[in-house]
Amino acid sequence: MTVMERLAPQLVTGAPLLTMSGISRRFGAVVALEDVAATVWPGEVLGIVGESGSGKSTLLRMMNLEDTPDTGTYHLALPETPGNLFDLDRFARRQLCARRIGIVYQNPHLGLLMGHSSSGNVAERLLIAGERSFATLRAKAKGALEASEFPLTRMDDPPRQLSGGMQQRVQLAKAIALEPALLLLDEPTTGLDVSVQALVLDTLKRLQRDRAITMVIVSHDLGVIRTMADRVMVMRHGRVVEEGLVDQVFQDPQHPYTQELVHAKL
């Protein structure tokens, strides 16, 4: 299936899953985000590229409701979430994130309890959502780890004892355990060696194909974006400078910064 075939029916229905607009965020004098808008359609993979400090992680944290912008609105087209999600309190945010949003952080320490078992890390997600049967927890944790292509012989080892690639797979299992509506990935393969990187990307692609999960993937690696994403957003200094279908943007970059980026890569 080509990107256009996959996009076409959604363009007809035209109801995005995620809509963010007018997002601005300052940290003291640092402008992390300035009037950023983002739209993601169901089943689509949105890539975000940009140089270090351009606000990619900050934007992703907002999508995961970990941070609130100074201005801006955020909507997810889910039955239980009418209205601006930034208006939700801590409790409602936590419930929503646990049930509907999965996230994989660049730094596994942010996403995992390093001292607890890997399967326990996945089970915690299910526990937050209210699952109380041991047999179900065990089976679902195993299922999610399997789907992330994690070696099951090590499912009860703590992430502290695992390689970086395996840690990312535990994070991924945790993120997909509850079949989230939205999967956020912040540089999921950075820091892994090239062959492991390729394997993790394979897993992600397979998940995307099998489950049609809507994803937002942040990377400064154009190769990752090219393999994974349908559409791409290019950020610089907290602003979106260019946006479009991946092939289009990478073939024919309009903004000077994107041109520089694409040519530097080639």
Binding site: R90, F91, R94, L113, H116, S117, S119, G120, A123, E124, L127, I128, R132, S133, F134, A135, L137, R138, D156
Partner: protein
């Protein structure tokens, strides 16, 4: 009129050792704790003449509740005659004029560490438990400010994570003492280091239980007729220690919580942990008139 007629006679210390303002603070915190069952209330925790960690939390609660007509029982590991229990009990009676007892049925205030007596407590009795570590979330969340937020959100998933890992590692739940329990369907508390055997005694009990940690400066309560539910998986039932089949080698009691006493021969014998109940059973067997009250357990099963 002389000044002496308007003031009280000189005394070496306030009644019940704590001064009036300290007691007022304690009373307020106790009332708050009763109003929100299982929720930890911070308090000032004054100095008392025993070391922190030896029951200062429980002692401050007892000193606040005590009156001349009180009858106090103090137990440590089930025994009334251990040094710590005996000195706390003597101190309580010295500063208040309250009577001392070993008998659960006679006591109005029972201060305890590690055990709840085997005889059922009545609605005119108060159980004061000494707690070393009041925070059930500490093993899963070392940051106490975040732990408080988790209590506020009833975010207790991680406590099941601990149980999950026990099940994975050992095939059963190994948590022996201080078993985390949900109080009134809202707050999870640690019921002090009592064994699993004793936790069900708190559920819908007729008596008031006050739990207090002197070093950590926190107290919480289980009011009478309040639900106390140990955290369990829906498919792994809560189990108390398997002591129903054991017999006390001194008193012949069975169906109560036992201490295991290793023998030179390499084997071991068992002894009722509630030592005064054992004493009463021996006296009864010798034909003395002693009353043993209704018990929580019968043949290892909790009575409804």
């Amino acid at each position: 009129m002389t000044l002496a007629t308007l003031t009280r006679p000189w005394a070496a210390m306030s009644y019940g050792f704590l001064d009036a303002s300290a007691k007022r603070e304690m009373r307020r915190k106790i009332i708050k704790a009763i109003a929100v069952p299982g929720c930890q209330m911070p308090y000032a925790s004054r100095e008392v003449p025993i070391a922190r960690g030896w029951g200062t939390g429980g002692l401050q609660v007892t000193l606040t509740l005590i009156k001349p007509a009180s009858v106090v029982k103090v137990i440590d590991q089930g025994a009334d005659d251990s040094v710590n229990a005996a000195s706390i009990r003597r101190f309580l009676s010295r500063v208040s004029g309250a009577a001392e007892t070993w008998d659960t049925l006679e006591a109005t205030i029972l201060q305890s560490r590690h055990r709840i007596p085997e005889e059922r407590l009545r609605d005119d009795q108060v159980l004061v438990l000494q707690v070393p570590n009041p925070e059930p979330l500490r093993p899963v969340q070392p940051n106490m400010s975040i732990a408080r937020q988790m209590h506020a959100d009833a975010d207790y998933g991680r406590l099941w994570l601990v149980l999950y890992e026990q099940m994975v590692r050992s095939g059963r739940i190994v948590q022996g003492a201080a078993y985390p329990s949900l109080v009134n369907g809202r707050h999870v508390m640690t019921p002090s280091p009592i064994p699993r055997w004793d936790v069900p005694k708190l559920h819908m009990a007729h008596h008031l239980t006050l739990l207090s940690a002197g070093r950590e400066k926190r107290l919480y309560a289980v009011p009478p007729f309040t639900r106390v539910e140990p955290l369990v998986f829906s498919d792994v039932p809560y189990q108390v220690e398997d002591h129903a089949g054991l017999t006390c080698h001194r008193s012949g009691l069975s169906g109560v919580f036992m201490n295991e006493i290793p023998q030179d021969s390499g084997g071991s014998v068992f002894e009722a942990s509630d030592s005064n109940l054992g004493i009463k059973a021996i006296r009864q067997a010798e034909g003395e008139a002693t009353k043993i009250g209704p018990m929580w357990y019968e043949n290892g099963e909790l009575r409804p």
